[in-house]
Symmetry: C2
Subunit: 422 residues, 2 copies
Amino acid sequence: MMKRVLVAIGMLAALGARPASAQSADECVPSALNVAEAKYPCLYADNRALFRVVAPDAQKVRVRVGPGFDMTKGPDGIWSVTTAPLVVGFHYYSLQIDGAVIADPATHTYFGSGWQNSAIEVPAPDAAFYEHQDVPHGHVSQQWYFSKVTGKWRHAFVYTPPDYDSARKSYPVLYLLHGWGEDETGWYRQGHVDTILDNLIAAKKAAPMIIVMDNLNAVKPGESAALFAARGLVPPPSDAPPAPPAARGAPPAPGGRGAGPGAAGRGPGGPLGRPTYTEMMFADLVPTIERVYRVRPGKENRAMAGLSMGGAQTFATTLANLDKFAYIGGFSGNCGGFGRGNDAPDFKTICGGAFAEPAAFNSKVKLLFISTGQAEGPGTKAFTDGLTKQGVHNVYFESPGTAHEWLTWRRALNDFAPRLFR
Amino acid sequence: MMKRVLVAIGMLAALGARPASAQSADECVPSALNVAEAKYPCLYADNRALFRVVAPDAQKVRVRVGPGFDMTKGPDGIWSVTTAPLVVGFHYYSLQIDGAVIADPATHTYFGSGWQNSAIEVPAPDAAFYEHQDVPHGHVSQQWYFSKVTGKWRHAFVYTPPDYDSARKSYPVLYLLHGWGEDETGWYRQGHVDTILDNLIAAKKAAPMIIVMDNLNAVKPGESAALFAARGLVPPPSDAPPAPPAARGAPPAPGGRGAGPGAAGRGPGGPLGRPTYTEMMFADLVPTIERVYRVRPGKENRAMAGLSMGGAQTFATTLANLDKFAYIGGFSGNCGGFGRGNDAPDFKTICGGAFAEPAAFNSKVKLLFISTGQAEGPGTKAFTDGLTKQGVHNVYFESPGTAHEWLTWRRALNDFAPRLFR
């Protein structure tokens, strides 16, 4: 509960309230995520957002961003609201029109919480690191592969560095996972993985590498797929009652995503991860990547990281396979279990006993990277402090002022990638 | 008007009506375009679709697919409707909830009509040509490039054939455009360009080629961008009244897309195309592609095609540059002007006079390919008949039973690609 309050506070920047009427719509800049020509949502200089929605016959319209804001119907029949200042970064959001939770047709949509949300980008002062610069560009390609474990075709995206085609070298590989309710498009669309790496490589801050962005949702035939249900936004089968909240996860936070299952890697599948994903990864994904791409062999050329539930999956997969990975990253998600009533764990036994013998662990792992957003609460810092006290080498990164959201994870990747394959 | 009626008829398969109550929801198969675990919309064996929507407090809910269907609220508070049988293929659709036109949160979204629509796929009997087979797979990669002409970063997707990395050869290139209101994602997401080509190449029916899928919306700084407005789904700027339908294009057809501007390439920018796009293509796009990819030089290794407004753009660009292109394709879009009160044109003067000297034209162009969907009306066939009578060599293809939609264009590409670079 404390956690949710912190997240909600994090969504509001610490700026004084200002009456909306004092601002002209002319000063409101359309969000970068809007579809062509959509002027709304737009952002004022103080990070208040103005939303406008066409819903002529609706009785009640609400925008679910930050703490949520009721909209009012104007004389032109269009609903609008100017929010309190929003925190910088990428926010999923949704509209609620007479009870239906839907995406705003004014924005491009982004897969999160198991459906295609709308989103707004509040420009960050440090945005240059994930924006296009005049540097050589790598590629993000889609890679189809058939999984023997799941019995289905699967789809990943793969970043290759700018010199991949010309240099004819082999490269180390980072396997990079999204969070709960997201998919393989998250890191390249919400995360700007390609521009972050292009900029780091051009500045010689990171080694050229391949980055594989897979979908962590993998189930065998017959295995329950309810792990990634869309949480009541879409109707249940007509012959079944709606699943109770306990089975389907907490209701969505006002931001349309928020601290539901998988936030901080605590949802279904975390903290122990999903054995099926690990099995599928070694049986199907890694062999495909190593057949199709020029991959440098050996564990010292293989890293794995993920955000939120993807961080939990990363710890589950790598800690059980330290012969295969030398670099491990958990962005707002790990195996520590903090925040689940387990704030003073025994570091000898948590995480499957992986940290019981620190010297042995340190000799096998070149980097254990653990990060969080400042507004996510103190659990992650306490986890890394506990690891350090236990003698486990680790690196801690904290994104200033941000919550369980994509700017936190873009910044984490920007700090993590330069530490790999050195 | 005749045209719209034909399209509406085309959306309904010629099957007898059957009471919905005779069908069990168990027999209803979720659409392939649904998000994970969303059971609705689903399809019965006779191509009726069952839609279910959560909108507890709404007064009126309608699904805008085919002719459009009002939904009814059940005792569980969920709205539902079983439609008449739908035509096979990919249909954009939307919901209307108390006047707001929005996407169904149950499906992945697809960019069309200037926004992220929901969509339903009615399986086609010939679907194997665009489905994954156990054959070598090429890649679709995103290619960022900075345009000097528009002053902005632009984004294209590029298909490279399965042997691109290993064979180290150079390849011919097809530039392939989407339609009105769509973007560079259309051909690989709605169109399945990669699987179509993978399957053709594996069967040795098509030459391995590079396919460049750009965004045809290109405007210079200061140039009006109103060509791709989202047609009233999103609010106008608060200081401007809503644009009249004449300026913003016809109202959306019930299917959420339909025969608005650009249908059959007649919208803004068609039939003469957009000079800015052509200028940008030669100044920025083609040089980027020829620098980054291994491209075989010469007009006999360069083709251009597009659908609907992209077909109109293709004709405008290629007919004025026959020294640069040997292969031309217009899928449900060309320069003929049929359907705009111009059904018996002078073939010596239409299309900028490109067909005035048939022998000269035939000597420069290896393929002029013109296609349409059977339910789109007779205009395209009349155009190709007229061209043939004028002595202009051309190939006509018609997709059986389909309208101005993506199955028509997948089939057109499948017929067109084997004719290239031979």
